[in-house]
């Protein structure tokens, strides 16, 4: 965990309890239909369960509608008719209905929770599996933090929509339909009068949503800018302080903070309008029913019980309307999230050529490497490697030397097929690496990088990463060969020390020794050391050097280093500049030639002619 990107924070609790009613993200998928169609296959395996859920929801909605109806009847028929035993029947019926409807509600949610979580699990799994097959180019061009927050918050958006909104949407729709039917059954004049609420509600929602959406977009933009300023000012706080620029940074922050305040007031004021407006609409509804119903009742057209039932329906009628309006936003956000998730899933992966070599062959690789006229560019048109040719015999050590940006690491990236060459060929033991399975190619290569990466696991497991089937003894033996055994035993838990808590306490040198142990355990035919020692001081380097030399014995090794002393003993020094080999030979030959290499070497030891 060399540089721990801060994990995006998703608070499970508030994210799960977030209900409709609080305005969330206002974003739209570019192609919502396509995103929706892509999501469907994840639900298909659960078709039977989904039918059960729909059945439950229908039962629940209808039964909860029966409640007010029964109440109205009870008031009219039994209480109005002074029929005590009839009242008892109604009362029992009502109690039964209420219990049953809520039981159905619970059952629907119960099944849906399982279904949605299983579907999401599959989606997450697919995403992760695909991530494994993506090219190194993808990881190099996407920042880890950005990728993380996209993957987590997008999945969370889908999660919320699927786990809460599907049933809620269904319930709302069925309830509304049921209420309309029930109202017409009770009294169609009153029902018609009630329906005038619909267009008003629709208009309210549209009006509020229009301004709210704009407001929240502005707010989000403002917050984004504010956070960018804050992030920069906090991560660069030491430098800001060192140069005494705090005042101007604070002023910049204050200005943007003020802007966020203004758009926050705007957006939230509009968003909060919806609630009182719908409530008033509810009151308005009651008023209409009461006055109209009262007038009807005076002429004997409706009963008091009907009025009571209508009022009760009215209250049930408004809230699904509001819910549907809110669900719309949440579903839009989910689809936008899904779109981004599928964007990753649709990014083409490494793809496997016809693997001519079987997995087992990795062991028998000899280690002859040949690069012929290799051409490569990361960005089309900007060639980084321009006709690179090199013949390496098994067991040789090759030092790649050159100024920053010369293309040394790129050669390694091509050798490991992290990137594919554009022209020429690379072959190992005479076989073109494009004809090999990536997995077997990489198994025959051992990498020790400048950036040591340790997993949040024990020391033992971090070493075993090199060869999963290795026994504990083999891991310890590898550590011993890498000169790491001594310091590991001094850790509080020895090999069982959990690095998730203490990785920070390991020095760069110690981390590097662990990654060398890993490479020793993997026992590759070809070894690649990419600036393996550049982040440790020179005396620590001496110790690591010993371990490295042991590792390099009998293997073909490619070594990249800034320090020329590291590579003095190489069989062949290859000097690279601007993607080409400008000189090659042994250290001494190159010095004698007094060319590019000589200049590089002398600049390091200038003033050393004592």
């Amino acid at each position: 965990m060399s540089e721990k990107t801060e994990l995006p924070i998703i608070d499970v609790k508030s994210s799960m309890q977030r209900r409709q009613g609080r305005p969330g993200k206002y974003e739209k998928a570019k192609n919502p239909r396509r995103a929706l169609i892509r999501l469907v296959p994840y639900l298909r395996p659960f078709l039977p369960q989904l039918f059960v859920v729909i059945g439950f929801v229908v039962c629940y909605s209808l039964l909860s509608l029966a409640g007010p109806y029964l109440m109205g009847r009870a008031i009219d028929v039994s209480i109005g008719g002074r029929d005590l035993s009839g009242l008892l029947r109604f009362v029992l019926l009502m109690a039964g209905t209420y219990l049953a409807s809520n039981a159905f509600n619970v059952a629907a949610n119960w099944v849906m929770a399982r279904v949605s979580q299983d579907a999401l699990k599959t989606l997450r799994g697919d995403l992760f599996r695909h991530l494994q097959s993506l090219t190194m180019g993808f990881f190099d061009t996407h920042s880890a933090g950005g990728l993380m927050s996209r993957l987590t918050s997008d999945i969370d958006a889908i999660n919320q929509a699927v786990s809460q909104n599907v049933t809620a949407l269904l319930t709302s729709a069925i309830t509304m339909l049921g209420i309309v039917i029930a109202m017409f059954a009770l009294n169609h004049w009153l029902a018609l009068a009630s329906l005038i609420v619909l267009p008003i509600m629709f208009w309210f929602t549209r009006f509020v949503a229009k301004y709210t959406r704009k407001g929240f977009r502005d707010l989000q933009k403002g917050l984004g800018e504010l956070n960018a300023v804050a992030e920069e000012a906090i991560s660069g706080q030491r430098v800001i302080k060192a140069f005494g620029r705090n005042e101007s940074v604070i002023e910049d922050f204050r200005r943007r903070n003020e802007a966020v305040f203004r758009s926050g007031v705007y957006a939230n004021s509009f968003a909060l309008l919806l609630m009182p407006l719908t409530q008033v609409l509810g009151t308005f509804f009651v008023v209409v029913i009461a006055s109209l119903g009262g007038a009807f009742a005076l002429r004997g057209l409706v009963s008091v019980g009907t009025i009571a039932a209508f009022i009760s329906y009215g209250q049930n009628f408004i809230s699904p309307l509001r819910q549907i309006a809110n669900l719309y936003n949440s579903i839009q956000a989910a689809l936008a999230g899904a779109e981004r998730v599928f964007e990753v899933v649709d990014t083409p992966g490494e793809g496997e050529a016809e693997g001519e070599l079987s997995e087992g062959i990795a062991q028998s690789i000899h280690g002859d490497v040949s690069l012929k006229d290799v051409v490569f560019s990361y960005v089309p048109g900007v060639q980084i490697v321009k006709g690179f040719s090199l013949e390496v015999r098994a067991g040789q050590t090759i030092a790649l030397v050159g100024p920053t940006g010369a293309g040394k690491t790129t050669i390694i990236n091509l050798l490991t097929r992290f990137y594919e060459i554009e022209g020429g060929s690379i072959s190992i033991d005479g076989r073109d690496i494009r004809q090999m399975r990536r997995s077997s190619l990489r198994r025959s290569l051992g990498l020790v990088l400048q950036d040591t990466f340790l997993f949040a696991d024990t020391v033992m497991e971090n070493i075993r990463f090199g060869r999963l089937e290795a026994t504990d003894e083999e891991c310890i033996e590898a550590a011993r060969l890498a000169e790491a055994d001594h310091f590991i035993r001094q850790l509080p838990g020895g090999y069982a020390t959990d690095l998730s808590e203490r990785a920070g306490n390991l020095s760069q040198g110690q981390r590097q020794l662990l990654s060398i142990s890993r490479a020793i355990l993997a026992d590759p035919a070809i070894l690649v050391l990419d600036e393996a020692t550049s982040s440790v001081d020179t005396r620590t380097e001496l110790r690591i050097q010993k371990a490295l030399l042991r590792l390099m014995e009998g293997r073909t090794s490619f070594v990249i280093a800034h320090r020329l002393s590291t590579i003095r003993d190489a069989d062949l020094v290859v000097v690279i500049d601007e993607g080409r080999i400008v000189e090659r030979g042994s250290h001494q030959e190159l010095l004698d030639r007094r060319g590019f290499y000589h200049r590089l070497y002398m600049s390091q030891f200038k003033g050393n002619e004592i």
Binding site: M16, A113, A233, A242, L277, T404, G509, R518
Partner: protein, 579 residues
């Protein structure tokens, strides 16, 4: 609770607005509760008696009241939003200003990520707390209390029968919430574990590919994935019990009302309208109950965030500001630097320097050498007073740094840190960062000395090229050179180079070193270095070992006198002795 009290001071400036908001809320509750009353009147005095005037009159009254309620609601939400947003703004500002005042010691304790969370989601949670409290938080219980009171007024007997039901509902909420908490925490842990696997996988992608370990990674992910799915399912299932449970309780209350009320109506002790009103009141208690279960979360989060925000606001700067009447450094010319018996630690048991004494005359170049963790950076960080010493004294220009005004000290001591931090803005802005009034000529001269001029001219817009977020459009070596130019443009009296050419190749580094003296004029320089070639020409080389000075002198002297120096020298020049 104490944390909240402390944060109340952020609400105080807006207390009149908050009170107004509360008054509007009371009006809304009163109007809410009036409606069932009026419905009752419509039924009993209008419909039952056949009095159309009462029906229409009451309806008109209800409509008028509801319009007043809209006004109250709009005023309430607007003022509560204003209070909430103002508090959030002030809180953010206070946290940000506090962070800017932090010393290095404070910054070591809080990571950037954590501080960002304090500044964004934590202030957000406190804001929600303030806003929600002013709206539903008070409205729900008030409506409930009012409804219960009116139930008693309407029919004490019936109302008394409702009390047990409401009590049971209350107990249910409490028990339920208490049992939910650990479930939520467990799911949160599983989610965090899943994210850790994902994060490691992305950050370590190169390694996973190189060792062909995607199989292992997928297995690891699947295990946490399944755990998370199972955990989430059970929490969701458990959570979905809550609302139906409350609904059933209230519904049973309704059934009870119809039964008992019906009996009373038949006996002539209650009117039909009263039953209708009573059921309306009962329904009015349901919503607050459901809402309160969801509010508990906002409350808990808000409280936790308030505590964390206070942690930042209350953090004492590890470097107290110099007293008001303190000294300033001369505005130009080199400053002497001296360490007198300095001991320094990052905390108990984390000693970094012990009894270090050394001095640099104005204009001298002092090189610090030593292995990683020897205390090189710690030593130079004491010069601009990023940290305070535990014992001893650090003098700049002959004055203890604790007695120099901060702005004066920082203006005269320029630091090029190990990790080059650039800010968004143009390249020119970045070079001018330390001294905004630097002329164009000075900017170019600084860039030239830092060997940055040539590559800057090759950038698309030269000095006007924008540095993107954290300088992603520049290479490590380029960033280092710009950050050296930035220090040079500040025209410091003391320049601290903390291993600041590690990403620059040797040739360029040599050119920078050659150009430095001319660009700096007279300036005291401290160089922390890994490469011995960097230090060969220093006036004084100091070798640190475990926080102590083990050797001090010029290159030739040390070569003869210090075995450690000799060892470092050999390790780098390797072939040296053999040639």
């Amino acid at each position: 609770m104490n944390d909240l009290k402390e944060l109340l001071r952020f609400v105080r400036p807006y207390r009149r607005l908050a009170l107004f908001s509360f008054a509007m809320l009371l009006a809304m509750v009163a109007l809410d509760l009036a409606v069932p009353r009026l419905v009752e009147r419509t039924i009993d005095q209008g419909v039952r008696r056949g009095d159309m005037a009462v029906v229409l009159g009451t309806s008109a009254l209800m409509l008028a009241l509801s319009i007043i309620e809209v006004a109250a609601a709009v005023l309430n939400s607007n003022s509560s939003v204003r209070v909430g947003e103002s508090v959030a703004r002030d809180l953010r500002q206070a946290v940000f200003v506090k962070i800017q005042s932090f010393s290095h010691g404070n910054m070591d304790r809080f990571s950037t990520g954590r501080l960002m969370v304090r500044l964004t989601s934590d202030t957000g949670a406190v804001q929600r707390l303030a806003q929600v409290t002013l709206r539903i938080g008070t409205r729900a219980p008030l409506t409930m209390l009012g409804a219960i009171a009116l139930m008693f007024v309407t029919s004490p007997g019936l109302a008394a029968a409702m009390v047990p039901i409401l009590l049971v509902a209350g107990v249910c909420i409490v028990v339920f919430s208490a049992r939910m908490e650990p479930l939520f925490r467990a799911v949160q842990q599983r989610l965090d574990r899943l994210n850790t696997v994902l994060q490691e996988n992305i950050a370590g992608a190169r390694l996973v590919k190189a060792f062909v370990r995607s199989g292992r990674e997928i297995a690891r992910f699947e295990a946490t994935n399944t755990e998370l799915a199972d955990g989430t399912t059970s929490v969701t299932q458990y959570m979905s019990l809550m609302t139906p449970m409350l609904t059933v309780l209230i519904n049973l209350g309704m059934v009870l009302v119809i039964w008992m009320g019906g009996n009373r109506v038949i006996q002539g002790r209650l009117s039909l309208g009263q039953i209708v009103a009573f059921t309306n009141y009962l329904l009015a208690t349901l919503n607050p109950l459901v809402m309160m279960t969801q509010l508990s979360n906002t409350w808990a989060n808000g409280m936790a965030s308030a505590r964390r925000v206070n942690e930042v606001l209350d953090a004492e700067s590890a470097v107290p500001p110099a007293s008001p009447g303190s000294a300033s450094l001369a505005a130009s010319g080199p400053c002497s630097v001296a360490f007198l018996g300095v001991s320094f630690s990052y905390g108990p048991g984390l000693a970094a320097l012990e009894e270090v004494s050394l001095s640099a005359e104005p204009g001298q170049t002092v090189a610090i050498l030593g292995s990683t963790g020897a205390g090189k950076s710690s030593l130079v960080n004491l010069i601009p007073r990023f940290y305070d010493v535990d014992r001893g004294q650090v003098l700049v220009g002959g004055i203890d740094v604790r007695e120099i005004r901060e702005d004066s000290l920082r203006a005269r001591v320029a630091v090029v840190p190990q990790e080059s931090v650039l800010f968004s803005g143009t390249v020119r802005d970045n070079i001018r960062y330390g001294r905004p009034e630097a002329t164009e000529g000075e900017v170019v001269a600084a860039a030239q000395a830092a060997q940055a001029h040539d590559f800057i001219l090759r950038l698309p817009q030269g000095y006007d090229t924008r540095v993107e977020e954290r300088g992603v459009n520049l290479s490590g070596g380029q960033k280092q050179r710009i950050s050296i130019a930035r220090a040079l443009a500040a025209k410091p009296g003391v320049l601290v180079l903390d291993d600041s050419t590690s990403a620059v190749d040797v040739e360029t580094e040599t050119r920078i070193q050659t150009a430095l003296p001319a660009a700096l004029g007279a300036c005291t320089v401290f160089v922390v270095a890994q490469r011995i070639s960097t230090v060969l020409n220093a006036d004084k080389i100091v070798v640190l070992e475990q926080g102590r000075v083990v050797a001090e002198g010029r290159h030739r002297e040390l070569l003869g006198s210090s075995p450690i120096y000799r060892e470092i020298y050999d390790s780098q020049l390797g072939g040296g002795p053999r040639e």
